[in-house]
Point group: C2
Chain length 203, copies 2
DNA sequence: CCATTTGTTTATCGAACGACAAACAAACTG
DNA sequence: CAGTTTGTTTGTCGTTCGATAAACAAATGG
């Protein structure tokens, strides 16, 4: 039951991964179709045939990114038994991901396109929406802690606590981008977690 | 003692300010010389004559940015009587600046060029170096607190504390960029300051 | 084998990019 | 005034941008 016409000479999964690496290193606007074609080992026309336009390709790349690099922090939130352990493990998993020696030292979701030309507004908003999802996921995990009984409703509000740890997690990307090492990020995480007890006990 | 040749028809200070507004909104790579010429009301050749190449112009723009938008947070660090008050006031001054209704909702130093094409590597490193200066300034202020006697040497280390608050201040830009309001940033700051007492008392 | 279907290569499109040279304009000095 | 100096405008340089059309290649079904 092979396909009808001429079969592909490249593996779309492999090519997408190669496109991811380029977008990750250079950001959305900093990556040209020539850059992509070279890294993927195919012509730009084949990119259009298989993945669509540049923003469409980027959307598929981000889906792959979320499913791979995004998974460890998400799993930490999901699998840790308490809200506190979940937040702590999420921060550490993020620090691990953004200091890997085989990838750029930052989160692509945060730094691939925070600003840029007017014509790429949609791409920026696409990423912004995913970052707001990130905040919502953290907030949901805190709410689960309240339900589970391991977290008293914080005086500052769940929203405040969630936004605070979202801010830290996103700030870590700037730090790593600028050369902070994994141990240095660990000290930041330790400081950020020092606020936990104060924030989650009645004031 | 007027200048010798034909006098300028535009005010370089005004033009630089207009260039700043464009770079701020669209980032370094997202801004073309056509965009700049239009906003500055002069031809691209006049830009080259008065300000040099695109990266040179951007350097002058960032100097202006540092002297204007960068000043309130720096002044907060300088003028507040204690290290704690200084950090708190710096965070608030930053939040004020990045939620002004007459400017983009983020710090240009953080988001104008975190990633991009290989040929603009120097511009990115220029900004990264200034962000490392930001960290150093915060650390120096904490050290002054120790000297002044209002801050005991923190168990986690001055470096850790300084990097932590730098991470928060930089993370705030992502939050504001994605739509967080001034009151929402205030809740983040409150959470971040909640760590202070724990971090600065003997553990 | 032939017609069809699909993928790849090659060439190219119009527009925009950063950068500048040459021509023109307006002030000065003597 | 003439001559010099400096600023601005106009035009254009070679390159690259994202995006396709047309030509060529390799598999299928009948």
């Amino acid at each position: 039951m092979a396909a009808r016409g001429r079969p592909r000479t490249f593996d779309p999964d492999v090519a997408l991964r190669q496109a991811l690496d380029v977008f990750w290193e250079r950001g959305y606007e900093g990556t040209s179709l020539n850059d992509l074609a070279e890294a993927m080992g195919i012509a730009t026309a084949s990119i259009y045939a298989c993945f669509g336009s540049k923003p469409e390709l980027f959307g598929k790349v981000m889906a792959l990114y979320g499913a791979t690099s995004g998974e460890p922090p998400r799993r930490a939130l999901r699998e840790q038994p308490t809200a506190r352990a979940a937040i702590h493990a999420m921060l550490r998993a993020t620090a691990d991901e953004i200091t890997r020696s085989d990838a750029p030292h930052y989160c692509m979701l945060v730094l691939a396109a925070p600003t840029g030309a007017i014509e790429n507004h949609e791409v920026r908003e696409f990423l912004a929406e995913r970052r707001r999802d990130q905040f919502a996921t953290i907030k949901d995990r805190l709410a689960r802690g309240v339900t589970d009984g391991d977290l008293a409703t914080p005086p500052a509000g769940l929203d405040a606590l969630a936004r605070y740890y979202t801010t830290v997690v996103q700030g870590l990307s700037i730090q790593a981008r600028d050369g902070a090492t994994r141990p240095e990020l660990e000290t930041v995480i330790t400081c950020a977690m020092a606020a936990w007890d104060t924030l989650t006990s009645a004031g």
